[in-house]
């Protein structure tokens, strides 16, 4: 379908949603909703824990457990949701 013509992005005053990278968004999401926290506690290295945290998140959301930040996972992270963490802290 038709694509809006553009692509100059501006910073809107008062807009608290900043342009963040996908990685930043994912890290914030995993931390905010408890996935990163609980994995870190169990003593994994950060690289392993990020993948494991993603898998946990994917299982919770009923997504394919790839452990990677794939488009479906990213899309899920951008959807409106409840602020209560998914993993108890």
């Amino acid at each position: 379908w038709t694509i809006p013509l553009k692509s100059v992005f501006v910073t809107f005053p008062g807009d608290i949603v900043k342009n963040v990278t996908d990685m930043e968004l994912a890290e914030n999401y995993l931390q905010r909703f408890g996935y990163m926290e609980s994995v870190k506690r169990s003593g994994f290295q950060p690289v392993v824990s990020a993948s494991k945290a993603l898998k946990r998140m994917q299982r919770q959301m009923g997504l394919e457990e790839t452990g990677e930040l794939d488009p479906a996972t990213l899309d899920a992270m951008k959807r409106p949701r409840c602020g209560v963490p998914d993993v108890a802290n």
């Binding site: 038709t2 809006p4 005053p13 949603v17 959301m61």
Partner: protein
């Protein structure tokens, strides 16, 4: 389902709740009702009862707030986090907070309850017709006092039913003025204000004085949001200003230009470049009822479920006819047991004088008034079952009813009874037409019906038919092999679609206007440019491609993408 660690739950069954404040997005009685219905979801399947308190401390304290709102978990502006609630317990535990940077509705756009007028407080009916023009928002047209109003039926011109929409000129919320309206101008800290302001507050709520001098009288109230008001940004509560200039270009409608997240926004002054005042455009919003039912699940002891269809799944999705999922029922009954006494019943909306978009509006007692017409049944030949078709030759509105044409047959969806009728044989109703109809429209002025098939068209006036005639007679080029859609634009003008182009037909002159064709994507951004059906229905433009439709509002924003089958045909 999941419960919180230690199976946190209330040690009593008579739970109390208190609503501490209201969102300016919806009239307070609608908010009360949404919360009451959300509690009823849970009381219907447990021995729990919910009693509302108006002062003191309740088990569940409910409030609206923005960003930092007094607990350690700030909200994040529009979208993203919608609400949160704490598991059962003392103090903050059990409380539910709703992000007031969201646009709270009942899930299908602004719910506008009227006051005064002659409609007894009914909800606005959008779109409504006033002096032949369709309005999708409240308007001040036709008034000199600047009070926004709306029709409460489809056609104000015919029914004359109306009421006034929420505005600061009518009443305020909360504060200390018993709902009195704003007085403009008013003085605050020596400065004069001519509109509601957020000055002097850290919570970003808009307020006004209800006398001409706040410094002297200290009388104030919060301003209700108008249905046309933007949310978020830095001009919350102000209406969009059209046209506005952004990066040197003029815009006549909301746009997602300049944003990476695709959200629609507008400026609230004539020039964003100069004033930088903006906000997000009103949208479908989030159903307060659905979000509240989810949050109250937390407040009763349920954690997030990983079943997508369950109410306690962490993500929001709007469902038309809500019913509690088995997983939610098992979860809450694990904590509190099943309902004793009478059999559980499906939660019903609390009695009101109006219907709400997220409740079932079907009146089962109403029978169609056209008993001779065959209705579709599961036993119908599959090739003649509209619900089994993925695509229609054309979809159009005739005499107010949606008509679906396919291969010599058609069905019609009665707008009055919301029931699908048919199949009918096209040639029995319109004998001159061929089996395949590519496009059709009803001229709003003359009520003549134009049918297009291939390079020919027919005009029906009642049972009298003219045609076939060549579409070239209308001024369409011979390269046009078929006309795939038609949109009525005001009186006597119709846009005809073919391929990636459209033309404007002057129906009275039977000629294409100068300046056409134009590219679809130059005017209608965000819809398929290979739509095979284009039509106008209840004030919205519909572009269909295969089994999907893209719905566009009169400001040319795509506000919904859905299934023809489920949304328009209402197939099970």
């Amino acid at each position: 389902y999941k419960t919180f660690d230690g199976d946190l739950k209330w040690d009593h069954h008579d739970i109390t709740y208190r609503i501490l404040n209201y969102s300016p997005d919806m009239e307070s009685s609608l908010i009360d009702d949404a919360f009451a219905r959300a509690f009823k979801v849970w009381s219907a399947v447990t021995p729990l009862s919910f009693t509302r308190l108006f002062d003191g401390t309740a088990d569940i304290m409910i409030s609206f707030g923005k960003k930092d709102h007094g607990d350690p978990y700030p909200f994040d502006g529009k979208d993203g986090l919608l609400a949160h609630a704490y598991p059962p317990g003392e103090g903050l535990q059990g409380d539910a907070h709703f992000d007031d940077d969201e646009h709270w509705t009942l899930g299908r756009g602004a719910v506008v309850k009227t006051s005064y007028g002659n409609a007894n407080g009914a909800l606005c009916h959008f779109p409504f017709i006033f002096e032949g023009k369709a309005y999708t928002t409240c308007t001040t047209e036709g008034r000199t006092d600047n009070l926004p109003w709306c029709g409460t039926t489809e056609d104000y011109d015919k029914d004359k039913k109306y009421g006034f929409c929420p505005s600061e000129l009518l009443y305020t919320i909360g504060g200390n003025s018993d709902g009195k309206q704003c007085v403009f101008p008013f003085v605050f800290l020596g400065k004069e204000y001519n509109s509601c302001t957020t000055e002097g507050r850290s919570d970003e709520y808009r307020w006004c004085a209800t006398t001409d001098n706040f410094d002297k009288d200290k009388k104030y109230g919060f301003c209700p949001s108008r249905d046309t008001a933007v949310t978020g940004g830095n001009a919350e509560g102000e209406p969009c200003h059209f046209p506005f200039v952004f990066l040197g270009k003029e815009y006549d409608s909301c746009t997602s230009e300049g944003r990476a997240d695709g959200k629609l926004w507008c400026a609230t002054t004539a020039s964003y470049d100069q004033d930088q005042k903006w906000g997000f455009c009103p949208d479908q919003g989030y159903s307060l009822f659905l979000v509240a039912a989810h949050e109250f699940g937390h407040a009763l002891g349920l954690d997030h479920s990983n079943i997508r269809e369950a109410l306690m799944y962490p993500m929001y999705s709007y469902v038309e006819d809500f019913s509690l999922h088995e997983d939610d029922i098992e979860g809450i009954q694990y904590l509190y047991g099943g309902r004793t006494g009478p059999e559980p019943t499906t939660p019903q909306p609390t009695p009101t004088t109006t219907d709400y978009p997220d409740t079932d509006e079907t009146d089962e007692t109403e029978e169609p008034t056209e008993p001779t017409i065959t209705t579709t049944t599961p036993s119908v030949d599959p090739t003649l079952d509209a619900c089994k078709l993925n695509k229609f030759d054309t979809i159009t509105v005739i005499e107010g009813d949606l008509h679906f044409f396919s291969n010599g047959h058609y069905w019609k969806m009665s707008s009055k009874h919301k029931k699908l009728m048919g199949p009918f044989v096209t040639s029995e109703t319109w004998p001159k037409l061929p089996a395949s109809v590519d496009s059709a429209f009803e001229d709003l002025l003359t009520k003549k019906i134009y049918f297009f098939s291939g390079t020919q068209f027919w005009v029906y006036t009642g049972k009298d038919a003219h045609g076939p005639r060549s579409v070239e007679k209308l001024g369409l080029p011979n390269s046009v092999q078929k006309v795939e859609g038609a949109l009525q634009r005001g009186k006597g003008k119709v846009l005809l679609f073919s391929g990636e182009n459209f033309w404007r037909l002057d129906v009275k002159a039977q000629k294409i206007d100068k300046g056409y064709p134009r590219y679809i994507d130059s005017v209608f951004g965000g819809v398929p440019n290979d739509a095979h059906d284009v039509f106008l229905y209840k004030g919205h433009f519909y572009f269909c491609r295969e089994s999907f439709y893209w719905r566009m509002n009169p400001r040319r924003q795509v506000d919904r993408v859905g299934y023809v089958k489920y949304d328009l045909l209402q197939c099970p």
